[in-house]
Amino acid sequence: MKIQVDRDVLAEAVSFAVRLLPAKSTLPILGGVLIETGQDGISISSFDYEVSTTTTLAATVEEPGKVVVIGRLLADIASRLPNAPVVITERDNRVSITCGSSEFTLLSMSIDEYPTIPTVTGKSGVVKAADFADAVSQVAMAASRDDVMPVITGILFEVSDKHINLVATDRFRVAIREIEWDSDSISEMTSLVPARTVSELSKTFANAGTITISFSDVSDREIIAFSADNKTVTSHLLKGTFPPVKKLFPDAVPHHAVVNTAELIEATRRVKLVVDREGFMKCTFSQNVLTLESVSGEQAQAHEEVDAIVSLDEAVLSLKTDFLLDGLAAVHSEFTRISFIAGETATKPGPILLTSQTSKESASSEAFRYLLQPKLLLR
């Protein structure tokens, strides 16, 4: 194999290929990236049996062929090469990379051991890349990072012909965001995709125009594919039943408060400086004011007041500062509506629901919803 490729194009493609690989793989071959010549250039791929990436790029192919080399090493080298065309040649199990006056020689990895990059040919639809990146950033932080319950380490895609609902939870909060999309072949389906992968790819694709999302129709190997510009990412789907979190959202909530989002974020960040390790603070909603207090900071206490429109006499809640901040950062609106949902039992307070609101008065938009479980306040 012998190819010539632009240095920046190569560096970008290789860095993308290795970004989604796990830091350390059980099988060394999976740490490789596959460079393969095609009709109009080359493709660079990575695959660890869970996630695959493929980037096609323009290149001059002098001799067709394919090689596998250590991904992270190639990425490090490519990012530091001088600004000149890069020539990659394979001879006798060695891959040489020449660029200007630099030359590197790498051992090529066994092409026979490298797994076949999956392709997805099922039903698909199209979503605006910027909307998708936005939506993912609003829900991904609520996904669990605890492997004890793998099913909630994913983002649930609830797909219909005109909308996708993205849902994530770690059992303490639930984030849901609805986005529009366009598909003529899908009626109703759900897929559960690892949150880390979705989060990474949505950022990479944010500047593309649109993303095509395809769902495999082969039942034994369930995968999903995201394609934009010259890149495709496939991911295996998580197995198992996502908890029925939708039933936690009531149809109507009688009481709520409206606060300025930025003000509440600032105040919460200040209180957070002195809360204890568990990170809870006491929130008292009363006439026109929301009072925030640290509960058990031993060294210091904090007291903050934020203007609020409150539709009930008083509500006192214990909220985790980090979880509240995550929700507030995700409402993406000047004001936040905090709705109080009735608790089921006396020992467990009802959850609160955060939604966005464009002004103090105008009704909230339901595209983003963030449900958060307060803690029983021990007084």
Partner: protein, 413 residues
């Protein structure tokens, strides 16, 4: 007030605690060199009588080594339930004298008796009375150090051992302290000692007479300052009643080195069952689960992971421990048949009171497991530990069930 009122901090340390408890049951071994050690070829000495110590036997020495030193050594198997019982008895006696009791291990405690002097007399008198009652009510001896600070009190009890009492009056502290070797100071381990000895500092007095700045330069700000303060007898720590456990764990040294991952996992399961039960009984949850592994070549490793939420569930502990094990073996490219395992242990760390963490939005699988574990705990209370256990820990033919110490020696905490 008497002239001893400036003291008032007591450090009480039982003499050869495990060994002496065993001798209560086996009076025929009195006066002989004897140790407490699990019946196993790989056991370590948990406790040694003074007769055995006189012949060079030390705790934590391997039993085999002790037997080489003293071939006619009496080896008594441990009975942890007994030690716990006597420990509780000990604490009960202390609390008759003062409510400010800080238990620092199963067999030692600090007492603050400053408030008890008007009723009970001088600290020295209280210390004598504690020693008398301890012997009358338990048949065990203890040593007591009396001073105005915790660390001098501890050094005083060490110096009075066995079966002794030493009062260090405030004006005699430096006289007592300065001839002691540097290792006597809290916070001086082998590493620190090496650094200090290289600078020609061998006694506490040497530290006291060197410039604080040079200590800080050698040992860092906090350790340097701390040792300098201690060397002048200054220790501002107070006796804190009810020490809260920082971690709960189990570890065992196997009889034979283990090459099977499954066997390690079964041991972790048994350990998780025990530790989870202990955490639930104590009303605490762990934020972090830690795995410890020592190979036959004595290389020891620890790995830990912080959970998303604190848990006292044996199942969470087991899952985390096995994942830590698998990740560790993979990352370090360790093949067990080439590197057999000598010791494995699991520990719940950063304990918080149960329920202090986040409240989930809905009940789920984990709640079901919690219910199962609650039922297991209830069965254990009624029918004894291990009454209900995971099927993989059962053996055929109704033999002795597999315990985490069934094929090895559980180490002292």
């Amino acid at each position: 007030m008497t002239n001893t009122s400036a003291t008032g901090i007591l450090h009480v340390d039982m003499d050869a605690f495990f060994a002496h408890v065993e001798l209560l049951a086996h009076p025929q071994f009195r006066g002989l060199p004897a140790v407490v050690s699990p019946r196993s070829t790989r056991g370590i000495v948990l406790s040694a009588t003074y007769e055995a110590r006189a012949l060079g036997v030390r705790s934590a020495m391997s039993t085999a080594q002790a037997l080489r030193l003293v071939p006619n050594l009496v080896v008594m198997p441990p009975h942890r339930e007994l030690y716990t019982k006597y420990s509780a008895e000990m604490m009960r006696i202390f609390r008759d004298f003062t409510p400010i009791v800080e238990q620092i291990s199963i067999d030692e405690a600090f007492l603050d008796v400053r408030g008890a002097q008007r009723l009970l007399g001088s600290p020295e008198r209280i210390a004598s009375e504690i020693r008398r009652r301890m012997f009358d009510e338990t048949g065990l001896t203890c040593s007591v150090g009396v001073a105005s600070t915790k660390f001098v009190a501890k050094l005083a009890s060490d110096a009075s051992k066995p079966n002794g009492l030493l009062v260090v009056e405030p004006d005699r502290v430096l006289e007592f302290l300065h001839p002691l070797p540097i290792r006597a100071l809290w916070g001086v381990g082998p590493q620190t000692a090496k650094i200090l000895e290289r600078r020609g500092l061998h006694t506490v007095g040497d530290i006291a007479n060197s410039p604080e700045k040079s200590l800080i330069a050698a040992l860092g700000e906090s350790v340097g300052r701390h040792l300098y303060e201690l060397s002048w007898g200054r220790d501002s720590r107070s006796v804190v009643a009810e020490r809260r456990e920082k971690s709960i764990g189990r570890e065992i040294t196997f009889d034979r080195d283990i090459v099977s991952r499954d066997e390690l996992c079964r041991t972790l399961l048994a350990q998780s069952e025990r530790v989870g039960g202990q955490m639930r009984a104590a009303g605490v949850e762990a934020r972090t689960i830690a795995l410890k592994i020592t190979f036959a070549d004595r290389m020891s490793f620890s790995r830990s992971r912080t959970l998303d939420f604190p848990s006292a569930s044996s199942r969470d502990m087991y899952q985390t421990a096995t994942e830590l094990l698998d990740v560790f073996l993979t990352e370090e490219h360790i093949e067990l048949d080439r590197r057999p395992v000598r010791l494995i242990g699991v520990r719940g760390e950063s304990l918080v009171p149960a329920g202090a963490g986040d409240t989930p939005l809905w009940g789920d699988l984990n709640d079901t497991w919690r219910e199962i574990e609650k039922a297991q705990d209830a069965a254990a209370t009624k029918y004894g530990r291990g009454a209900v256990r995971p099927a993989s820990l059962l053996t055929r033919d109704g033999e002795k069930p597999i315990d985490e110490s069934a094929h090895g020696a559980a180490r002292p905490e």
